[in-house]
C-alpha cells in the first residue's frame, strides 16, 4: 500500500505572471538619489551667503570622509567574478582596512558590486535588491559580463551591460578582474565619493578620476 501523496500548495510567486509585474507595483525612481528639499534649500542658502561656502565645504569634507570610510558592499555574487570578490573580501586583500564590511543585507549596505553575468531573468531581482538599499548608494560593475555582456553578449538571454538596469559608478574590466583590479576600482569609488558636493549631490564626472 502506497502512502498518501501530500498536497503541495502552489508557491505565492506563481500568482504573479512575471517579476516585472511585481516591479510595477513598486515605485520606480528615475530621478536618482533622493534629497530632502528643505535640506537642499538650507544648504544652498548657507552656500550663497557671503563666506558661507566655508561652512558647506567643511561639512562636505567631513560628510564625504564619513561616507567613504564606511562603504558597506552587499554580498551579491552572480558568477565566477564572485570568487574574485570573495578573495578581495578575505584576509589577504582585506577590504575591511578601507572600512568596507561585506554585509548580507541590502538594507544596511551602501554599495552593490555586480559580479558576474546578468541575464534577463535575473535583472528584475537585481533591480529590486538595488532599490532596497538606502540612499546614498553606489554600484560597481565588475568584469566584462557586467560591463557589456562580455563573451555572452550575443546570447539571447544576456543583459548587455548592467548599466541598462541600474546606474553604475565604477566599471572594473577583466574576465574575471583579479582582486587587485577590484581593489583599484573600490579605491576609485572612494575618490568619487569624496567628490560629493553640497553635502550629498554627486559631482560632475571628473576625467582625471573616473
Amino acid at each position: 500500500m502506497k502512502p498518501p501523496v501530500p498536497e503541495i500548495p502552489v508557491p505565492v510567486w506563481r500568482n504573479f505572471k512575471d517579476l516585472q509585474e511585481w516591479e510595477q507595483l513598486h515605485q520606480v525612481r528615475p530621478e536618482g538619489d533622493k534629497h530632502s528639499s528643505a535640506f537642499l534649500s538650507i544648504t544652498e542658502g548657507i552656500h550663497s551667503f557671503p563666506g558661507g561656502f566655508v561652512v558647506t565645504t567643511a561639512a562636505d569634507a567631513f560628510l564625504n570622509w564619513a561616507r567613504k570610510s564606511s562603504v558597506w558592499p552587499v554580498t551579491f555574487g552572480l558568477a565566477c567574478c564572485a570568487i574574485e570578490m570573495m578573495a578581495t573580501f578575505a584576509s589577504r586583500f582585506d577590504v575591511e582596512r578601507l572600512g568596507m564590511v561585506p554585509w548580507a543585507s541590502p538594507r544596511h549596505s551602501d554599495l552593490m558590486i555586480v559580479s558576474g553575468t546578468v541575464n534577463i531573468k535575473m535583472a528584475p531581482m537585481l533591480k529590486r535588491i538595488y532599490e532596497q538599499m538606502p540612499d546614498p548608494k553606489w554600484a560597481v560593475s565588475m568584469g566584462s559580463c557586467a560591463n557589456s555582456g562580455g563573451p555572452f553578449r550575443h546570447g539571447y538571454f544576456v543583459v548587455k551591460g548592467v548599466d541598462r538596469v541600474i546606474p553604475v559608478d565604477v566599471y572594473v574590466p577583466g574576465c574575471p578582474p583579479p582582486p587587485e583590479s577590484l581593489l583599484n576600482g573600490l579605491l576609485l569609488l572612494q575618490d568619487q565619493i569624496s567628490h560629493f558636493r553640497r553635502t550629498g549631490k554627486r559631482a560632475e564626472p571628473n576625467p582625471k578620476v573616473d
Binding site: K17, D18, I120, Y156, F157, V159, R164, V165
Partner: protein
C-alpha cells in the same frame, strides 16, 4: 544481447527504420519516422532493454526542418542507442515519449522552450528555462539574436 543482435532485431521489427553504419565503440544510430516514434521508444525499452534515458534534444536543419535526437542506454549489455526522427520542413508537432520514459518530461519541456516543438500527449508542456512571457524560441536558426527584449535589452 550484443550490438549485432540489437541491429538485426531493429531491422526485423522496424523495416522502414534507417540504421546507420556501425562505428567501432559507437552507439546504434537509428532514424525512424515520427509515426513510429512512440512505438520505437516502447520497443527500445521493452525489447532492447534500454532503460536508461540519457537525453533528448533537437537540431534545426533550416530548410530540412527539425530533427529530434534521443540517447538511450542499455547499461547491462552495454548497448547505446541513438534514436532520431526528422519532423520535416515546417512541422513542429511530435508525439511525446514521456508516458514511456518519465525522464523525458523536462527534456521535452526544454525542447519546447528552445525549439518550439509541441509534444502531443505531454502532461505539462510549459516553458522551463525562459520566463513565461518570452517571445520566440531562441535556438531556432530563424531567431534573431539581437532583437530587443524590453525592458532590459
Amino acid at each position: 544481447m550484443t550490438l549485432d543482435q540489437a541491429r538485426t532485431l531493429i531491422g526485423q521489427q522496424f523495416a522502414t527504420a534507417q540504421i546507420e553504419a556501425a562505428v567501432e565503440g559507437g552507439p546504434v544510430v537509428v532514424t525512424v519516422s515520427p509515426d513510429q516514434w512512440t512505438a520505437f521508444a516502447a520497443f527500445a525499452k521493452q525489447d532492447l532493454r534500454c532503460r536508461f534515458f540519457s537525453f533528448l534534444t533537437a537540431v534545426d536543419w533550416k530548410d530540412a526542418g527539425l530533427e529530434l535526437v534521443v540517447r538511450l542506454d542499455n547499461l547491462d549489455d552495454r548497448i547505446g542507442l541513438m534514436m532520431k526522427t526528422k519532423l520535416g520542413p515546417g512541422v513542429s508537432e511530435c508525439p511525446s515519449i514521456t508516458p514511456i520514459f518519465r525522464g523525458a518530461n523536462w527534456m521535452e519541456r526544454e525542447a519546447y522552450d528552445m525549439f518550439g516543438i509541441r509534444f502531443a500527449g505531454h502532461p505539462d508542456l510549459r516553458r522551463i528555462l525562459l520566463s513565461d512571457d518570452w517571445e520566440g524560441h531562441p535556438l531556432l536558426k530563424s531567431y534573431a539574436v539581437d532583437t530587443p527584449h524590453p525592458p532590459y535589452r
